[in-house]
C-alpha cells in the first residue's frame, strides 16, 4: 500500500468515524429543531438509497418513487388505526403491500426503456396519488389521515416505552439508514450486485454471462420500493398524520434532485444529497420569500437551476467528485489459495458441439442469413469468414440467442437451443466476446472478469446483503486473477478497464468469457483494429485455449488471423454458405477469391 493510499484510508476512515460520532452526539446535544431536521434527512435518505440502487446502479429511471412512500405510509396508518394492527407489524405490512404493488407495476413497466420507463413511473405515481387523494372513505383524501382528523394512530412502543419526539425517532430512523447502507454496500460487492451493475453496460452483455436481465431489474425495483415504503411507515409514526402529497410528483422530483446532487451512483451520495437538499430547502424557505416580498415556495426556482447546472457541469454528483479528489482506496486483496470454483461436469473431447441446420433469418425484405448449415466439432477452431455484409454477425447473434431465427434449428451439445433466451444458452456452456467492446469501463480488470463468473457461482441475494458470501467471493476473485494471467493481463488486476488499449481490452473480454468455464467460446471479430503484435498475442492465446480443450468459433475479417488459426473455415457471402474446408482449400476456391477481390465489371 502506497503512502498516498494509506492517507486515503485514514482520511475516509476519519470521515466515517466523524459521521458516526456526529450521529451519536446529536441526540444528546442538539435541540428539537435540529433533531427534527435530522430525522427528515434520514427518512429522505432511505428513499434516496433505493433510488441510487434503482437508477444509479441498475440504470432504471424512476419518477415515481414517492408513490411507494405513500403506499407504505397509508397502509401502516390505516391498518393500525382502523384495524387495530400492532404498529410495528403495520409498518411491515406497508412494506409488504408496497412490494406486491411494485411487483405488479414492474411486470407491466420494466420492459420499457429509457425515458419511456421514466414516464411510465411518472404515470404510476400520478395514479397512486390520485387514488390516495380521492378514496376519501379510506384515506381521508386531501385533508389527510391521522389523529388530527379523527383517526387515531397509536404510537410505536418498545418494551412498553412509547416512542415520541424526535430524540426517540432519531435512533430508529438513523438505525434504519445505517442498516440499509450496510446491506446495500454488501450487496454491491456481491455476485448479485455485480449482476445489477452489468445491466448498465447493456443487457446483451449481461445475458451473455447468464444474467436473467428481467429478474435483476425487478429485484432492483422491489428493493427500492421496500426502502421507500419503510421510509413511509416511519414517517407515519413520527408525524402521526399523513397527507397524499407524500406520494406526489413533487416529492418524487425532490428525491430525484437529492440523488442527482449527491451522486446517482453513490450510496453515500444518497445520504449526503438528502442532507444537502433538506438543509438547503430550510434555508431557502427562510430567505427567498423575504427577497420576493411575498410568502411562497420559491425554493423550487433554485432547485430547478441546481438540477440543470449539476447535470451540465458535475454530472456524477458531489460525493463521487469529492471522492476522486481523495487518494483512491486500496483494492480488496485477492487470495490465490482460495478453494477453486466448481468446474463444468462433462469434459468430453469428441463429438459435435454446435450444429446449425438450415438456419434462415430475414429483416424486412433483406435475407441476412439464408439456409445456413454447418457444425463445430469439439476441440476445433472454426473460422466464420466472409466479406462485409455477408451475414456473419447475424449468424453469431442467432447462435447466442440475441436474435430469433425464422426457420431451421440450432443445437448445442445435443440440446436444441433454438427458442432459448440468451442467458439460458450462456448457462449451457457458451460464452462470447463482442465486436464493439461491452466492458464496464469504470470497474477494475478483476471486477470485469468476475462478472463472467455469474453462472458458475451461487450466492443469493440474502447471502450477498448479509456479507455471508465471502468464501465464494474469494474463490471468484482468485479464479478471475487466474484467467487474467491466462490472457496475459495478470500484472495489474486492479487497473481500470478504460485504461487498457483496444488490444488488451479485447483480451479482457476473452478472460471474462473464459471464467465461465465454457465449452464453446464465440469470438466476434477479436482482431478488428489491432496492431500486428496484438494480433500475434491474440493468436497465441487462442492456440493455448485450444490446448486447454476449449472449442472456438471465430468470426473474423482478418485473413491472416483466420488462416493461421482455424482448423476449418466456413465462408459466407450474401447470407449463404459459399464454401467450407481447410484454410488452404478455401483460399484457392475461385468463388471465395471473387467474393473478396471482386470481379471485373462486365
Amino acid at each position: 500500500m502506497s503512502a498516498a493510499m494509506r492517507a486515503g484510508v485514514w482520511l475516509r476512515g476519519g470521515l466515517f468515524v466523524a459521521f458516526i460520532a456526529l450521529l451519536i452526539a446529536l441526540p444528546f446535544t442538539a435541540g428539537a429543531f435540529e433533531l427534527r431536521l435530522a430525522n427528515v434527512i434520514g427518512m429522505h435518505a432511505l428513499v434516496a438509497l433505493g433510488l441510487v440502487l434503482l437508477t444509479g446502479y441498475a440504470g432504471l429511471a424512476s419518477l415515481g418513487q414517492a408513490a411507494f412512500v405513500g403506499s407504505g405510509a397509508y397502509t401502516a396508518a390505516i391498518l393500525a388505526s382502523s384495524y387495530g394492527l400492532n404498529p410495528w407489524l403495520s409498518i411491515l405490512a406497508g412494506m409488504a403491500l408496497s412490494v406486491v404493488l411494485a411487483w405488479l407495476i414492474g411486470l407491466v413497466t420494466l420492459r420499457l426503456k429509457g425515458h419511456f420507463l421514466a414516464l411510465a413511473t411518472l404515470a404510476w405515481g400520478l395514479v397512486i396519488t390520485g387514488v390516495l387523494r380521492n378514496w376519501m372513505s379510506v384515506t381521508g383524501g386531501n385533508t389527510g389521515f391521522g389523529s388530527a382528523t379523527g383517526n387515531r394512530i397509536p404510537p410505536l412502543t418498545i418494551f412498553g416505552h412509547e416512542l415520541s419526539g424526535d430524540r426517540d425517532y432519531f435512533i430508529l430512523v438513523w438505525g434504519c439508514v445505517l442498516l440499509a447502507l450496510w446491506l446495500l454496500t454488501n450487496l454491491m460487492r456481491s455476485r448479485t450486485g455485480r449482476a445489477i451493475l452489468s445491466l448498465r453496460s447493456g443487457s446483451v452483455a449481461a445475458a451473455s454471462f447468464g444474467v436473467d436481465v428481467q429478474r435483476m431489474k425487478m429485484l432492483a425495483f422491489l428493493l427500492a420500493a421496500l426502502l421507500a415504503s419503510l421510509s413511509g411507515g416511519l414517517h407515519t409514526y413520527r408525524e402521526l398524520f399523513i397527507v397524499p402529497g407524500l406520494a406526489g410528483i413533487n416529492a418524487s422530483i425532490d428525491y430525484l434532485i437529492m440523488t442527482v446532487i449527491g451522486g446517482l451512483s453513490s450510496l453515500w451520495g444518497a445520504v449526503a444529497g438528502a442532507g444537502i437538499f433538506i438543509l438547503l430547502k430550510e434555508q431557502l424557505q427562510q430567505v427567498m420569500p423575504r427577497f420576493v416580498g411575498r410568502s411562497g415556495n420559491y425554493e423550487i426556482i433554485a432547485f430547478g437551476f441546481i438540477l440543470i447546472l449539476v447535470l451540465q457541469y458535475a454530472r456524477r454528483g458531489l460525493v463521487p467528485m469529492l471522492d476522486s479528489l481523495l487518494p483512491p482506496l486500496p483494492p480488496r486483496p485477492i487470495r490465490p489459495q482460495a478453494p477453486p470454483l466448481p468446474e463444468r461436469a462433462t469434459r468430453a473431447t469428441q463429438g459435435t458441439l454446435l450444429e446449425l441446420s438450415h438456419v434462415t433469418r430475414s429483416f424486412g425484405g433483406l435475407t441476412a442469413v439464408n439456409d445456413l448449415s454447418f457444425t463445430v466439432e469439439r476441440g476445433e477452431i472454426v473460422g466464420l469468414i466472409g466479406p462485409n455484409g455477408a451475414g456473419k454477425t447475424t449468424a453469431f447473434n442467432l447462435v447466442t440467442g440475441v436474435l430469433d431465427i425464422d426457420s431451421g434449428a440450432i443445437s448445442f451439445a445435443g440440446v436444441p437451443i433454438t427458442r432459448l433466451p440468451p442467458h439460458r444458452i450462456a448457462r449451457l456452456g457458451l460464452a462470447r466476446t463482442f465486436q464493439h467492446l461491452n466492458l464496464n469501463p469504470g470497474m477494475s480488470l478483476i471486477e470485469n472478469v468476475a462478472l463472467g463468473a455469474y453462472s458458475r457461482t451461487r450466492a443469493g441475494l440474502l447471502a450477498g446483503m448479509l456479507g455471508l458470501d465471502r468464501a465464494e467471493e474469494d474463490s471468484t476473485r482468485a479464479e478471475a486473477l487466474r484467467n487474467l494471467h491466462r490472457v496475459g493481463l495478470g500484472d495489474d488486476p486492479f487497473a481500470r478497464a478504460d485504461s487498457l488499449p483496444l488490444g488488451k481490452a479485447r483480451l479482457l473480454e476473452v478472460a471474462r468469457a473464459l471464467i465461465a468455464d465454457p465449452e464453446l467460446l464465440l469470438l466476434d471479430e477479436p482482431a478488428a483494429g489491432l496492431r500486428r503484435h496484438e494480433k500475434e498475442e491474440l493468436k497465441a492465446l487462442i492456440l493455448r485455449l485450444k490446448a486447454d480443450g476449449v472449442t472456438v468459433l471465430l468470426v473474423e475479417h482478418d485473413m491472416d488471423v483466420v488462416m493461421d488459426l482455424a482448423d476449418r473455415v466456413v465462408v459466407m457471402n450474401h447470407g449463404n454458405k459459399l464454401a467450407e474446408g481447410s484454410p488452404a482449400e478455401v483460399r484457392r476456391h475461385p468463388g471465395v477469391i471473387e467474393a473478396y477481390l471482386g470481379r471485373e465489371v462486365a
Partner: protein, 275 residues
Amino acid sequence: MTDAASPLPGGQNAGSASLERSRAGAPEASLVVEALSVRYGGVTALDEVSLSVKRGELVTVIGANGAGKSSLLNAVVGVVPKAGGRVLLEGDDVSRETPEGLVGRGVVLVPERRELFAAMSVEDNLRLGAYARYMRGDRDLASGLASVYETFPQLAERKRQLAGTMSGGEQQMLAIGRALMAKPRLLLLDEPSLGLAPLIVDEIFRVVGGIRDAGATVLLIEQNARAALALADHAYLLETGTVLLGAPADELARDERVASAYLGLGGSRGTTSGE
C-alpha cells in the same frame, strides 16, 4: 508509430512518395489530404495518410476490411474528428469544416450504410439532397430530379415508396441519387458495392463512371478491387491505416501485392521490407 511494414516516415513507400508530391502540388488538385490521422479508443485507424485527387479524376482507395478506408472519408468530411493532418479543397483549408458545411461547398459523401431517411419517400429523400443549395437560393429541383430519374429508372418507378422498404441495390441508387441532387463538385463514395448482387454492382459502377465522365471529381473507396481499378484513373492501396502503394490504376491492377493484401498470404510484408 508506423508499422514495421512501412519503412519510410508517413507510411508511403519510396516510389509513390515522389509521385504523390507532384500530384498534390498540381494546380488542378481538387482535394488534397495531408498526413491525416484518425484515432479512437486507443486505436489508430489512419496514420498520417496523404493523397490527392485531381479535378475530373476518379481516384479509388482500395484495401482489405479494417484497413481504415471508411475512416478516411469520414475524417475528410468531418464526421469523425481528425487527430492530425489537414484537408485542402481547391487550396482552401477545410479541416475544421462540418459535414453540412462541406455540402454547401460541393463536397458530398455517400456513406457506407447509405444513411437514407427510411421513413420518407424516395422523392423526399432526393429533394432533401438538394437542401443546401435550395437554402442558398437555387430552387430548381425539377431538373435535378429529372436527371436522377433518367440515370436510375428504378427510382422513377418508386417515387412514393418509402426508402426503408426498398432492396439494397435500390437503396444504394437512391443514396447516390440524393448526393447527385446537391450538384456536387467532389463526390465521395464509401463502398457502394457493399452487400449488393453482382449485376447491380455492375450498374452502379457504370453510373459512377458516367458521373466522372460528365465532369465531376470522384473519390471512391472500395473492397471490390478489380472493378474499382478498372474504373479509376489513379489508385491508392491502404493497409492498417497507411498507404502502401499509390499509382495510376492500371499499374496497380497488375501489381500482385494487391492480391496478397486482401487474401492474407503474408506476401505484402515480405516484399516491402526489402525496399
